[in-house]
Symmetry: C2
Subunit: 502 residues, 2 copies
């Protein structure tokens, strides 16, 4: 059992894609599956998803959102009701045409998203302004038949997500909620996954099919130099309410008038897990953000050899068990690796490649001094600490580790966002694996031109790097009064975040 | 807004099927959907499912079960690997044959259950006895294309469930877990849903496709006189491990021998919600088991009319708010119905049809005496209580209500289980809407005969009542030494529970 066999065989800088696959498979987060673009989420990754689920559910319950479950099947006629919407999704929609040996008269689609499934019900439920606001959310899987560029967690045929769907009487309430939800998504990344994100609005080309506007949070993957959409919160305006006839009496039931409602939808997916892995993990393997790690601390008894007297071994076991129960009682997720058939060094490797945030090494000498040695997974720094109040020490260490991982990722990201003002600078920044902020005219054709002109092709005409597109128009970007568009030289409207992306 | 319009229009005894549909739709548990056999789970029913999820997850975590998520898609070759298994499911399997406009070369199935999805991974993960036991569970939806007899919650094309899949080295460990899980399922019914169930083993005809044996819990629906399978825990023996090559080295790696592992799978579905509704609800509407009700208590301010001085109204509001916050702080799920546009009587009807377990009526006179009037949904008994320590009073009332609902359902069920010894008694008990316990030879052909002979057909040859089948062989049934089979007169092997069923 050599390190070569079990460890990573490639460095992050050397071959980022291959490194990522090794990290998630050898770290036991995910397994490949018989069908391309479908993956098995193993307990370590499912645990992170459950942490996100618990945190977000609590937050949206306070906003009055209720949980529900709608069917996964959609009749064709319903799916096609909102034209921009279906245009966006139709190439990816999977169709059931056969059941047992019987061919269905009317094929049904599997949900790629549930707007067209839910809104006929909304139309039945909402009759008066007293039925508003209506706020529901469901956790489920969706199916989008991606043929190219599938990548574990990041882009798959099936993925897990939550989709919130809300209905308001006024545009103001709806607009406010779009922002509230985007803030919560941003906090999932910073507070749970230790990942910094940028909030902003999508360009017209990049908005959700059928939306009035789309807001998003965008993360940066240093290893590939690409941006990645991390979650979206859409204002659907009245587009769907008009198609699905969701309306209330105007003027409190007086008169014949009706008012179409304003709707939002918003979602975050298991892509978040992949983003976190790509950012934090290293050449040794997985590095898990400590707040969401299924095992936060592993205790490894050390220094016992064949010649150690049995009584010493027993005492050490008791010492370890005391530490274990103290940590457990404090709500820390702790595991003792008491395997006797493998070496201590092998255990270290085993837990490092699986990303466990903290390792406690405990040997006879530590026991004599009532100490333990704490080793952090991210920095691999070792610290000898008193075992007195060990649970507080470990809880502090978890918080420190979280903050430092977030700070490190933020510093790295910030150093890789280039402010550019002309297209030469733009292209050269991209080639240095940066993303860019540039003054932009906000025109859709210009955006397509930029994408096409930044696509890199080799001598045989094969695309070696996809073109850059707008990631978002950051809310916190400075004004660009009097500036020219980075590409077309027309008047710039917004400083916009561009990048190659997933 | 008359009662006629919003209340049920049919009594439970009069037309049970129509009554059930009205209870769940007017009680806002569920909505019908465009596709037959697919239903919308509204927040009230989703909340119950979440309670079950939370309770069961905590219990199986203590058994070392880890949560995971496997893909919903299955290639044909994998699905067909275990022959008994596919025989059982093939008529109900839905096939995706088209994506966007493209026809798939190899159609893929949607999971009706995940044995064949998970076990190839198990085969990769399990190499040594040190990798055992392996215990995973997932919460998801499955698709079984039921064409006939679809019924909300009870039998649908898509339903939510959990499926646990575990692997052991020895048959003994595996057998023990089958029972442990069945006990937990039984407790979900008794402790959360206030429903009594009977534990037992399925006949050979009724066992799960591919199982060595199946155990189940069975409930009874007095309104229809039918039994209903409430959850199942299967021993798969080595049937799947031999097909999917899941094995470990024999003798701890010494020698060439391999040992095939023993596997279990077990599941409970949203059918549980329907069973609970059918048993507890009444001619007024839904009656929710209080421990899992989304709203456990509704407070209705009463006795305020147009002539009430404004200051009195304000004082009542404050009194109500105090009660509200005391209950909320005690963790009780409470809602204040402060709507001003409808009458108190309408509010009572509104919450009764939605099954809210307790209503607190609070008027100026109650306030003066520092009292409230507590009304139970199930019995409609009223009780004037002191508002002093209201949260303890309400918490007690919830527990009493739960116990009494369970006791009532148990007494009713017990009075409807007939002990029969010949086939005339058998048939007459069925016709009185009972289920029966009868000595049985345990022969599969005999079971089929019983089913056929107990099928009721009208003068036109239409089936008016399906035949009875075995529900289970109850663990607690007495021996039947020397008795004859209730149908074929051969030697009886087991006292067995028979009934018409869902």
């Amino acid at each position: 059992m050599t390190k070569q066999k079990f460890g990573l065989t490639v460095r992050k800088e050397q071959d980022f894609s291959e490194w990522y696959v090794q990290v998630i498979t050898k770290g036991e987060m995910l397994d490949y599956y018989e069908i391309k673009g479908c993956y098995v989420m193993r307990p370590t990754s499912q645990f992170i998803w459950k942490c996100i689920q618990r945190w977000f559910t609590e937050k949206i319950e306070c906003l009055g959102v209720q949980e529900c479950y709608f069917p996964m099947l959609i009749p064709k006629s319903m799916l096609e009701k909102e034209k921009d919407h279906i245009k966006n999704f139709s190439p990816e929609v999977a169709w059931i045409t056969k059941c047992g040996d019987e061919v269905l008269e009317d094929p049904v689609a599997i949900r790629p998203t549930s707007e067209t499934i839910m809104y006929p019900s909304f139309s039945k439920w909402i009759k008066s302004h007293r039925d508003l606001p209506l706020k529901v959310n469901q956790w489920c899987s969706v199916l989008r038949w991606e043929l190219h560029g599938t990548l574990p967690f990041i882009r798959g045929k099936e993925f897990l997500w939550q989709e919130g769907h809300t209905v308001f009487l006024s545009k103001e309430e709806s607009d406010e909620e779009v922002g509230t939800i985007l803030d919560l998504y941003s906090r999932i990344y910073s507070e749970l996954l230790a990942v910094p994100v940028i909030k902003g609005r999508k360009s017209e080309n990049e908005k959700f099919g059928g939306a009035a506007y789309t807001t998003s949070i965008e993360a940066f993957i240093p290893g590939s130099g690409r941006g990645v959409q991390a979650a979206t919160s859409h204002s659907l305006g009245q587009n769907f309410s008009k198609m699905f006839n969701i309306k209330v009496d105007a003027d409190d039931g007086q008169g014949d008038g009706h008012v179409y409602v304003y709707q939002n939808s918003w979602g975050i997916t298991t892509r978040s897990i992949g983003i976190s892995v790509m950012i934090h993990s290293d050449d040794i393997g997985l590095v898990l953000p400590p707040r969401v790690a299924m095992i936060q601390v592993v205790i490894v008894p050390c220094g016992i050899t064949a010649s150690t007297p049995e009584s010493d071994g027993k005492m050490l076991d008791e010492y370890v068990e005391k530490l274990h129960s103290q940590l457990k009682d404090a709500g820390i997720r702790v595991h003792v690796d008491s395997r006797s058939n493998i070496t201590v060094g092998f255990k270290f490797n085993h837990w490092e490649i699986r990303g466990v945030p903290l390792r406690l090494e405990v040997g006879p000498k530590d026991m004599q001094k009532n100490e333990v040695c704490v080793v952090r997974r991210d920095t691999r720094n070792k610290k000898q600490v008193s075992a007195h109040r060990i649970s507080e020490v470990v809880a502090d260490e978890i918080e420190i580790m979280h903050s430092e991982m977030l700070a490190k990722a933020t510093a790295e990201r910030d150093s890789r966002i280039s402010q550019v003002y002309n297209f030469d600078e733009f292209l050269s920044a991209l080639d240095s694996k940066n993303i860019v902020v540039a003054p932009w005219c906000c025109d859709g054709d210009c955006e397509m031109e930029i994408k096409s002109k930044s696509t890199k092709v080799d001598s045989n005409g094969n695309v070696v790097a996809t073109g850059a597109k707008t990631l978002c128009i950051p809310y916190e970007a400075e004004a660009c009064d009097g500036m020219k568009c980075v590409y077309c030289n027309k008047q710039a409207m917004k400083r916009t975040l561009f990048g190659r992306s997933y």
